[in-house]
Structure formats: C-alpha cells, structure tokens
Symmetry: C2
Subunit: 602 residues, 2 copies
C-alpha cells in the first residue's frame, strides 16, 4: 500500500495556524518562509513516498535480527538511511554551525510526520538521534560537541537514549547503572540497559549512546543520576574510529510491532568486548555530559523533544492507516447504499458507517496535526523571538501542549488504526493486507517516552497545578476568543462549531477548577488521563475551529480543499468535542470510585 | 499466565440477574437450578483452567499449519478437544434426545465464556459446531439429524459455517457458489469459500460443513440462496465414514491473532480430491438443509447463536487480559504512591491511573457479562416458557440484546485488551509477556459473524425501527423502574447510579425518537454504531444497577464480594454511562456531517 504525503493539509497548517511567515520574521529564520516550507515539504514527500514507504511492510516481515552481538536491519534500510543522511534530513532542524539546515520546528515536524508515515520503524533511528543531538547541544562540552555533533547531524553516526533498566521503567529513581571517574577525566560505565531503540544496528559507522548512570558515591534517587555519552567505537583525536568500546548488545526484543526497529538490551562494561577490555580492563568508556548529578534534567530536554516527536508518530501512523482504509473503501464493492442512490452493490465508502469511520479518523488526524503544528510554532517563537516575554509565553504554551501532543495524538492513533482494520472487515485481520501492521505498530506509542499516564502526570502536576491553573485558564480564554470569532463569522458551520467548542471549553475549565481545588492527590491523579484526553480533545478541536475560520476566509483559494476543511472541523466538533461531557463527569463526579475498591478485591 | 474462572461473578449473575431458579421452574429445565449451575460451572472452571488455558500461548507461537490440503493444529489441541468432547462440554446446551445435556443457555453461556477465556482459538471449534447443530435442529431433515446430530453433539465430529466468498462478505446477495440437484436427491456443490473457521483440522474424524450456495436456476440475490450440509467424509448407512468428499482446503490465512484457529479457504467440487472424483466425477456431495432458497433464513438462526457467542468471546478475552493486568499491577514495583501512603516504591496497583485502567476494565467486563447472562435467560424463557405471551416478550427482548451482546461486548474487548497492554508498560509490547496476544486476538471479534456496523444495522432496522421504537421504549421503561428502585433503596451509591442511569436512559430515548422520526436513511445509519454503543452501554449499566440492588440486599452473604459489586456498579455509572451524553449528541446533532464530505475529497 503506497503513501501520499498530505502536503496540502500540512501547508495549510503552516500558513494559517502555525503562521510560518511570522516565524520567518524571527532572527535566524529569515529564509524559512512559506515558499521554503513548500519546497522542503515537497522534497520530503518525494523522498519518503519513493524511498522509505516501500520498506514498511518488509520491516514487518523481515524484522531486524540479532546474531552474536550484531544486529542486521531489514534489507533496504541501510541504503535508505544513507540516502536520508545524504539528503540532509537528519540535520533539518539542527544548527547550521554543525552542518544542519537550522529550519524551524514547524517545518521539521511536517517532515518528521512524513518519514514516520512512510515507515515508523525506520524513522525511529533519526528520532533518537535528534534526541542525542539535543542533549549535546544543551549540555555537552565544546570538546564533545566538536567530536560528535557534526557526525550526528550529518547522519553518519546515530544516537540513542539509555534510560530504562529492568527495575527502572517509569521510575528513574531506581536506576542502578554506575560510572567510575578515571584519571583522564573520562568514566568507566557499568550496567544493563533495556528497551534501547536502535541500540545496535548496521546503518551507521558509530553509535553515540546517551546513558543515565550514577557516579560512585552519588546521592540516592533521581538527584544522583548523571548523563554520559558512551560511543560504540571510541573516536581518535583525528575523528577516525578507534577501538570498539565495552558495550555489547546481548539481545533484541521480540515485539508486537515496529519490528524492524531493533530494541536492544545493552550490557555496559562487563568486559565481553575483547578489544577494549584487553587494553584498559573492563568498563565502557564514557564521557560526562554537562555536570554530575544533573543527568535527569538534561534527559528531560531530550525527552521533551522525543515526546513531541512520538506524538507526531501517532499522527503519522494514523494518517497511513487512514489512507489505506480510504483506498480500500473506494475499491471494495459490497451491498447497496441505504439511500437508494445506487441500485446495485457499491463501493463501501457509500455506506454511512464506513463514512463515519473515515471521518472520525480524518478529523482526529487533522485535529492532532493542527495542534502539533501550532505547538511547533510556539517552540520556534520560544527560542527565536526577540521579546523575552513573548519567548516565555510561547515556552509556557509549548510545554502545556507537549504532553497533549504526545498523549492525545498517540491515544487517537489507537482508535484510528483500529478503525483502519475495521474498514477492511475480515481482510483487515489478514497480515498480508497491511492494516493490521499499523494497529500493532501504533500500540507502543502510548507507552514509550513516557506512558499516557506519565504524560498526564506531567500535565496535571507541572503544567496545571504548579501555577494554580493559570496557564490552563489563559489558554481557555484564547479558546473563548476563537468562539467569539466563530460567532462573528456567523455561518451555520461556524456557529455549530462555536457551540460545541464552548461546551468543551466549559468542561475543561470545570475540570481545571476541580483539580486546583482538590485536596486529595488520589482524586487528582485518578482524573489525570481523562483530563489529558479532554484537554487534548479541546486543543485539537480549537485548532480545527481556527482552521475553519481560515478556510472560510480563503475559500476562493482552493474551494474543494477549504470546504473539506470546514466539513471536517464541524464533524470534529459534533463527534469528538462532544466526548468531553463524559470526561468532565468522570473526573469531577467519579474521582472517588477510581480508588474505592480495596486492593484485595482485585 | 494462568487463568482463574470468575465463578463468583458468574454465579451471582445467574442467581440475581438471570434468576436461574425461575428458569429451573420452566418445563425441561427442572434439574437446572442454582445447585446444578454451581456444580457445572465448577467443573467447567477446573477443566478450562487446567487443560485448555495452558495451551493459549502455544497456539500463538505454534499456529495451526497447512500442508498439502491438511491442517495440523497446535500441539496439545487435539488431545484437549478429545477431553472437551468426552467431558460432554459440546453438548451442554443441546437436546438430550441427541446426547446433549439440555441445560439452559444461561448456564451454557458461562461455560462458553470460560473456554474462550482459556483459549479463544481453541474455543472457536466448538463455537462453530454449536452453530451447525443449531441449523440442523432448526431445519435439518430427520435423516440428516439422525446421521449427524449425535456425532456433532458428542464432539466426535465438528461443524463449520460457510458463508463468505471473495466477493461476498457482509453482502451475501453476492454469493456465487452453486449446487446441482442429483437424481438421488443429493446435490453437487461447487465454489470457493473463504474465512472458514476450522474449515480443516485434525481434531475430529469428520467435519460437517454448512454451506450457502445457489441451486441451478435459483433467483438472484438473497432469495436464491440455499443451505447445504457437505461432509468432509461421506457417511455410510451404518454411520461409519466413507469416501473423502470433493472439498479441499487450499490454504489457511496468516492472521494477526487467533493464530491457532485455522481460517481456511475451501474449494468445493473442483475434482482435486481423487477418491470421490474418480467414482462420481467432480463436485462435492451435499445435502439440502430445509427447503431450497431459504438458506439465509436458516443461516440467520445459526448466526444469531454465533453472534451471541462471539459477544461472549469479547467478555472472555477481556477477562483474561484483565486478570493478567491485575497480576502484573500487583507485582511490578515502580514509584511511590501519590498519596504518600507508602514511603517507598510500591506495586503499581497503588497508582490511581493504574486503578482507573483496572476499574474501567472490570466495570466493562462485569457489565457486559451481566447483560449476556440476562440475554441468555431471556432466550431460555423464550424457548421454554409455558405462556405464549411470555415467550414472545422474552424473544423480543433477546433479539434486541443480541446485537448489543455481540457489538458492545466485542468493542469493549478492544478497549480492555488495549488497557491490558498499557498496564504492562513496555513489557506489554514484548510478545513473551502475553498481553499483546489478547490485543491481537480480540480485533477479529468486532469483525466476524457480522461487523459492528452489521450488528448496528440489525439493531436499528429490525430491532428498533421496524416496530417504531416500541421495544426500545418498553426496555427504557424497565430501566426507569430500576431507577425508581435505586431511589427507594436510597443509599449514596444507589442514588449516584440512579442519577447517571436516568441521564443515560434519557439519552437513549432521545436517540430512539430521533431515529424513528428520521426521514433520511443516511442520517439513521450514520448514527447506527454510536446508537449501538449507547444502547449496549445502557443495557450493561442497567444490569449493574440491578446487581447493585441485589448486592445491597444480600450484603451479609459475602460482604467483600457484594461491596466490590456495588463499587464496580458505581464506577460504571460514573465513568462509562457518562459516555452516553457525547454519543447522543453525535447521533442527534451530528448526523449530517457524517456524509457531508464529497467522495472525491477523501
């Protein structure tokens, strides 16, 4: 099943919601206006449609495989990644100083969606490399930056994030990996890390592992965790590759989905790799990133970037599943339309429930894409605006949106990929059809880089309660302003959307008031995920409401597209925003029943 | 991961909701009171926990395999099925005249849940055999009954349902398989059937295929379809097996889940099987079931039984996933409880969102189980009541519930199996954990035996609009009576449930009014699945409300269990019933936007 990048929708968002021309007025982004965006997106579309997308099914059928510590990726991946690197795609958003293109996140996010739609497993390698680059940019010494950044930005080398250990998943306080300072200023790192995406592979010459570990004598808990860069191969002063480091891939996981993406168990410093162990004794050579005991702080920078990107993965896999469902629905002939419009068996897209499934998918995808685009624009302004207050406001807005982009977009991807299978009927359950792969692939997205519950904790704790609900309320006021604009517009679609948006916004404010006033932490966290779903729903619906206004105002530009946007926004309001009533009730009226059942009754 | 049958909950439902002692007062069920139910369920639990459940993972790892027309099932399946047959489990609900035990469906349904929780793939074989038995009982000639029924009821032979063809899935009007009458009264059957569950296997000596085909010269469309019994092996007059019939399994499907259950492509009458072809020429020997051209009618009888059973499969796989999630949540230690109740990392079941996921699962399962139990009791009364009016009322009620048991319980199983993976975090995505299998297995349930949309069409068309909403309104009146009882009970839990039940019932009535008044068929069918979800939600929530009343009244009997039931009912009301507000709005206010987007915009 082929993939066609939704360029029109992406460019509509960039122009009307993310306002790329305003971003291009910020220092450093002078060349990043709409025309640049269009050119970059068209190139990305071509590359991902033609090179990356055709490898998606192969990755499912011939997953990456492990033998004797070495991982061989799916045939075709290595070559595609070489082309990806050569095309400059890894460096799209990264600084020009290190060989990147320095483009805004708003443009980068659209490209990241495309590569993920094309191939979720493939795209994980650059996604994690982006995280490593981000960490080094933030906290790496000049020396580390000089040695590693250009290679990572160019895609010659790749990066990983090493957080999880068998006993330490969501709870990083339990990390046990340790690091011993060496006389030369480096460290020897020891420990076992699991669930390391692309922790070992054959697509690049070297891998820079970013690893959380405790320096000998560091405090217990999260305040004693430091971040290290541990390269697969040591790097000589001239930049050439030296000895193999003492980090070994002892196995990769057998997973339900994203099978082409090797998920490694990495063993650091047990002397299994002879070349280094013989010369210096066991222990993986690592380099401290930033200061000791501040590892979690740096890791959070990487994670925020990665969380945003995983949210985009949700949009991406949903888009791919939706496209496949649409194609099948147009092709598969079964039963007469109920309205009698065709007097013979017709393509199933004529059946109202198939339309409902496709519209639900489309509305969720477009809503989440709009939200992600606006979040990216806020990130760009937060980093490039000349005005400190504007930077701060945009940063606050971005940080509020990150758990929603991650949590809501990935949860919606479960719904859309399930509908994608459902539209196919029995054929959807047959692996050769390909719809099932999206369903299996998507399920990791609500889990890795922080489960939906972890996102919800972040949303409730850091992003909502910490400032007494101020940010949340300020955003609600912006939603209200959009309602007023819709009413001024006055069309039947705008008014319908305004009404549902107002109800959803009121539900959101109710919930924020409830959470802020709540004394019982169990009641707060019992409602955290429903609150995330409600807030994500509202933010996505709000952006579609803004999209409706833009579409109405620019109807003549591309009438069919603009009219479809209006219809989709209205569908979202009527079918998705209306879910918020139940979510509000569950949170506000049902907090106690969540934890009322005694443990022994389970 | 082991399985423990939820006997207490099943027996509670039988006693207080299905009212097994009233069923036992009906003629033919004299020995089927509570004590019998208890004894049978305990035996079933033992058998399924010990013999069938341990084979579940094996079936996923070593699926049934095809070679040269022969299917070899997962190691252990054949022996387990022999024990299943010998234990009399196939015949539980079938007439004593043919070797069955003649027990009520209310008891049978609980046993069917157990075998499906134990092993969804395994349980499909008896499930389809039940359908074949039902069809023969309804429409088979005395001769066919004499030859086949005892063997099927005893589990010596198994049965299949052959509806689907490549071009005819939901739309049976497109069936092309044909049957030619032979001088001896038999037929020769020709055609290709796909998606035939246990269409070929090694677990029984013979297979009775029930096949839809058109007799030469029959009318076009669904009025020209007849039902045939085509045995894998012809049967000699003395009951011994004769020649191999001309039906060949040409392949089995490679599926996302229920991998141990062979899904066959069957080729009828192309002469590939030499033994029969040589003597009589090509063509599969088939025997007409009932009258020509009434095949669909008989098939619907089988399908109604099968649809109910698939609904129970949804409950079953959800229960299994829930049990596994509970075990993991009690075992996995990660992070401190937010309420400070434990000053160290604790089992994740202490975290409110894990509790929310487990309670959501539990409430959905118990609600659907209660609904299915009550539906089964209605079936029993519909068939055994001495009063014709009572029979009719019960039949109407049962028929209203069948699409809900099928549609709602299977849709909820997608939610629960997804939560089951989610509770496991990253481990859930690793196949060895087993949670992913339930997620993959469950997805077929919303598709086969009629997709959720097909169930919804049935609910809207035959069950709601045909009598102008009368049945639906009569049921709503019964719900209202329960609300009144809750208010009389007057406890804080009862009152909370009454309030949410009333709101959900009002939403239901609104939707029924909307559907009945609607002139545009597109608007009716645009809302059909949301209506099914709303109605299923209400019916399950209503039964839990009745359960709450029974638990309050019998608190002293088993205080911990009864209190858990009350808490679960309240959770359901606050967290699940509250979803109906959004569903109502989507149906009543959002009908037009479902089909508003022109086809070319997709």
């Amino acid at each position: 099943m082929s993939y066609k990048a939704p360029l029109k929708d992406m460019l509509f968002n960039l122009r009307h919601l993310a306002r790329i021309d305003e971003i291009a007025s910020l220092p450093g982004f002078e060349d990043a206006g709409f025309e640049t965006a269009q050119a970059v997106l068209e190139e990305a579309a071509k590359f991902n449609e033609q090179v990356v997308a055709p490898l998606n099914r192969a990755g499912d059928v011939q997953p990456s495989s492990w033998k004797d510590g070495t991982v061989t990726t799916t045939p075709g991946f290595k070559d595609a990644f070489r082309q990806f690197a050569q095309g400059g795609w890894q460096g799209l958003q990264h600084p020009v100083d290190f060989g990147g293109q320095g483009l805004p996140k708003a443009i980068g996010a659209a490209c990241i969606e495309m590569v993920n739609s094309a191939n979720l497993s493939f795209a994980l390698c650059p996604l994690l490399t982006d995280g490593a680059i981000e960490a080094l940019l933030t906290a790496g010494s000049d020396e580390l930056k000089a040695i590693y950044l250009e290679k990572l930005v160019s895609g010659e080398w790749t990066g990983t994030m090493n957080l999880t250990e068998p006993q330490a998943g969501s709870d990083l306080a339990l990390v046990r990996s340790r690091a011993e300072p060496q006389p030369d200023g480096s460290y020897k790192v020891y420990g076992t890390k699991i669930f390391i995406t692309y922790g070992e592979h054959d697509m690049a010459d070297n891998i820079a592992h970013l690893v959380l570990a405790r320096v000998t004598g560091a405090p217990e808990g999260i305040k004693g965790i430091s971040l290290f860069l541990v390269p697969k191969f040591l790097v000589n002063p001239d930049g050439s590759l030296g000895k193999r480091n003492d980090v070994q891939c002892v196995s990769i996981e057998h997973k339900m989905g994203i099978k082409a993406s090797p998920t490694a168990v990495l063993q650091y410093g047990d002397g299994m790799v002879a070349s280094i162990a013989s010369s210096t004794g066991p222990g993986a050579v690592g380099y401290l990133v930033g200061q000791e005991n501040r590892g979690l702080e740096y890791m959070f920078i990487m994670m925020n970037a990665a969380r945003y990107a995983v949210g985009v993965q949700g949009i991406a896999v949903a888009e791919r599943a939706y496209q496949q469902a649409v194609a099948y629905a147009k092709d598969r002939v079964q039963s007469r339309p109920v309205d009698g419009s065709i007097k013979a068996s017709a393509a199933i897209i004529h059946h109202p429930d198939v339309r409902r499934m496709l519209m639900t998918s489309r509305a969720l995808i477009e809503g989440c894409r709009a939200m992600a685009s606006v979040a990216a624009a806020a990130y760009d302004a937060a980093h490039h605006h000349t005005d400190a207050e504007a930077r701060k406001q945009n940063q606050t807005f971005y940080e509020f949106l990150v758990p929603l982009v991650k949590g809501y977009s990935t949860e919606m991807s479960l719904e859309v990929t399930s509908l994608g299978v459902q539209v196919h009927g029995g054929m959807g359950f047959i692996e050769e059809t390909g719809a099932a792969q999206h369903y299996r692939d998507a399920k990791i997205l609500t889990i890795y880089e922080g489960t939906t519950a972890i996102q919800a904790n972040d949303l409730v704790g850091r992003k909502t309660l910490r400032d007494g609900g101020q940010t949340a309320k300020a955003i609600a006021a912006q939603v209200e302003a959009t309602e007023a604009e819709l009413k001024r517009q006055g069309g039947v679609d705008a008014l319908a959307v305004a009404r549902h948006l107002a109800a959803a916004r009121a539900a959101f404010v109710d919930v924020v008031d409830f959470l802020v006033a709540q004394q019982d932490p169990n009641a707060v966290y019992a409602g955290s995920v429903p609150y995330l779903m409600l807030a994500g729903n509202l933010m996505a619906g709000w952006q579609l409401a803004r999209a409706l206004l833009a579409a109405q105002a620019n109807l003549s530009e591309d009438a069919a597209f603009m009219q479809a946007k209006i219809t989709t926004a209205r569908f979202y309001a009527e079918h998705i925003l209306t879910r918020t009533a139940g979510q509000r009730a569950a949170i506000v009226e049902g907090a106690a029943s969540v934890t009322a059942l005694p443990l022994e009754a389970f």
